[in-house]
Symmetry: C2
Subunit: 346 residues, 2 copies
DNA sequence: GGCACGTTGGAAAGCGTTTGCCCACCACGG
DNA sequence: CCGTGGTGGGCAAACGCTTTCCAACGTGCC
């Protein structure tokens, strides 16, 4: 067998005895209708020859590819990889190819990735991850770039705080943190420490604000809240946990603003002989899957990560596009597990 | 400002007063040399106009895109997402766009994904994840599809057992398991249970075989090894752990063939009142990052996941392609932590 | 029966690159 | 002075599709 050149649409058209235009219209949806008998002939020919359309050529001609871009901060972080799994599923259910970009939390890389996807003529973009409240300029540039993306026919759905063009899926960070605060106060905690991300990370700020509100509502003096800041990842949590362990009293409860931070914090506390929840309670936020199985199981605020990924992808890919950008808030649910307990008497 | 059509190569050529061909040769590497002064003019024009080449058009003309495909079983699994993070880094260091495919452990989806990436004219493919020893036919079809991919100029690097076209990066599953067995036997364990994946999952089989070898070498009766099989994920581990808990004696040590399985197993054991490592030791395999922080910290066999992702991507993207496909074995290293201890006296 | 109109097929012009081929030009050797 | 070979620019043909535009062919209406 000679190395066979791949079958092109021209081959199909010839075989079916019709023009290229007709073959194209018959095989790939088009506004134009072709007579049923012709359409039939074309399909038969395509099947017989084993024709498969060339996505690259289609992208060029249509000015739109079957790529959907997913942009996250760090794919190794379970928060993002869970969302990615959901988006993945939808993407290939819709026969789209998902591309992955990691920003490493650098706003400039984020913008660069959007540009790349614009050049690739991606059909849609799912943007996941907190913005920086203290870098409005970068946020503005990102918005501009997304506008450009949208102007080329791309759709956008971001999983983050509102403010960007396109649909927004926003976990209820503030509300969730508020409720968690209520729950912790309900357990009797009055001296709470918070392990937060760097100043300016919006997700972290929202959760912190909600938490403060909740505590205040429960009658806890907001001035008593100790806030430790660090990188918004496991190592940041670890560092903060170490600080805390060195000087714990009178803290009875630690709220880490994300599960991965909580994980690091717990590790640091434990290494220093502080027992959770006996000496101090710890709660996190996100409910990443792995922390359900740890000891003690982590109390947290549950966000349905995979389902967020799915919804985001679906919103971005859905046809037809809605006239108005949508803004949906994803409720967050407090789940208390073993890592929190009432403060030790005394 | 009128909505400006993007700048094309033709614009640049006109501005520089040269032909399309010359502009193309000057801007994008080509075998042909262009006179320095012309090249200079072209670059100046490009810079002035803000020209950016259209990757889709380039893909069509060159028959090769700047996509690199990463195919994994499940991106939410830390094993795969860690590898993905490494591959990601290399991809965008090389200005490639990484696409992500998830097979859900279905060999047919795996093949379909390869086909998709072939149609996309991906430059390279990184395939991660165990093959099925009991489905040689699917393996053959996959190999065929990869040949086709390679025939179109694509490069392949697989992180799995050898047997596929292209480079192979193979964690030393067998050797690692063997050494782990030695270490566990060294602790004094004589009655061991193994939590394995489904029959036919090559990674699982390799580790099991290595483990048996190691135990045999240490003088443990291979007949005494109890093997529980289940899905090769957290839930499979949990189910097996539950079975084990119901009927533990005389087992003093459990080896789960992956960390995520170990995680499930530990959870199940604990829920049933079996304490690790007091009642039974548990070890895993892979050393996924999250399990270093758990209590007890999991003894395991360390595989450098991110670095494997990096190396795989680099091998697949490296220029020029080696004449011979490469086969490199990644050493695995036993790391004993708190989840393993000598068996209880008596 | 003529005319306007709605349908539908086909020719061809894109889409934005790369590249095969021809040719002009120059340097050099005979 | 002419032939020869090497260098490098430009034309135009790919690459494989979509879509515009035109023409042909009914149909229905007056």
């Amino acid at each position: 067998m000679t190395t066979s050149r791949p079958v092109t649409l021209a081959d199909v058209a010839r075989q079916a005895g019709v023009s290229l235009a007709t073959a194209s219209r018959a095989l790939n949806g088009s506004a134009r209708v072709v007579r049923p008998d012709l359409a039939e002939r074309v399909c038969a020919a395509a099947a017989e020859l084993g024709y498969v359309p060339d996505p690259v050529a289609q992208s060029l001609a249509r000015k739109s590819s079957n790529l959907v871009g997913l942009i996250v901060h760090d794919i190794a972080d379970p928060f993002f990889s869970s969302i990615a799994a959901g988006a993945m599923r939808v993407a290939d259910e819709m026969d789209m190819v998902l591309t992955l970009g990691a920003t490493g939390r650098d706003p400039r890389r984020e913008i660069a990735l959007v540009t790349t996807m614009k050049l690739q003529r991606a059909r849609a973009l799912v943007l996941v991850g907190s913005r920086l409240t203290d870098d409005p300029e970068a946020e503005q540039r990102l918005a501009t770039e997304l506008e450009a993306f949208a102007a080329n026919g791309g759709r956008v759905c971001s999983v983050r705080q509102p403010g960007l063009p396109g649909d927004v899926l926003q976990p209820d960070n503030r509300g969730g943190a508020r409720e968690l605060a209520a729950a912790l106060a309900g357990l009797g905690h009055r001296h709470v420490a918070v392990i937060a991300g760097p100043e300016g990370v919006a997700t972290s700020e929202d959760r912190l604000a909600g938490f403060r509100e909740g505590l205040a509502a429960a009658g806890v003096d907001p001035g008593s809240i100790r806030v430790h800041r660090g990188r918004f990842d496991r190592d940041g949590g670890y560092a903060a946990g170490a600080e805390l362990a060195a000087d714990l009293s009178p803290t009875t409860c630690v709220f880490a603003l994300s599960d991965v931070m909580a994980m690091g914090a717990v590790a640091a506390l434990r290494e220093r002989g502080v027992s959770v929840p006996d000496d101090v309670s710890v709660a996190g936020f996100d409910d990443i899957p792995t922390l359900r199985d740890t000891v003690p199981a982590l109390s947290t605020v549950r966000i349905p990560l995979e389902s967020i990924g799915e919804r985001a992808a679906r919103m971005a890919l859905e046809n037809p596009a809605p006239e108005e950008p949508r803004h949906v808030v994803i409720p967050a649910e407090v789940v208390l597990r073993a890592s929190t307990a009432p403060p030790r008497a005394g």
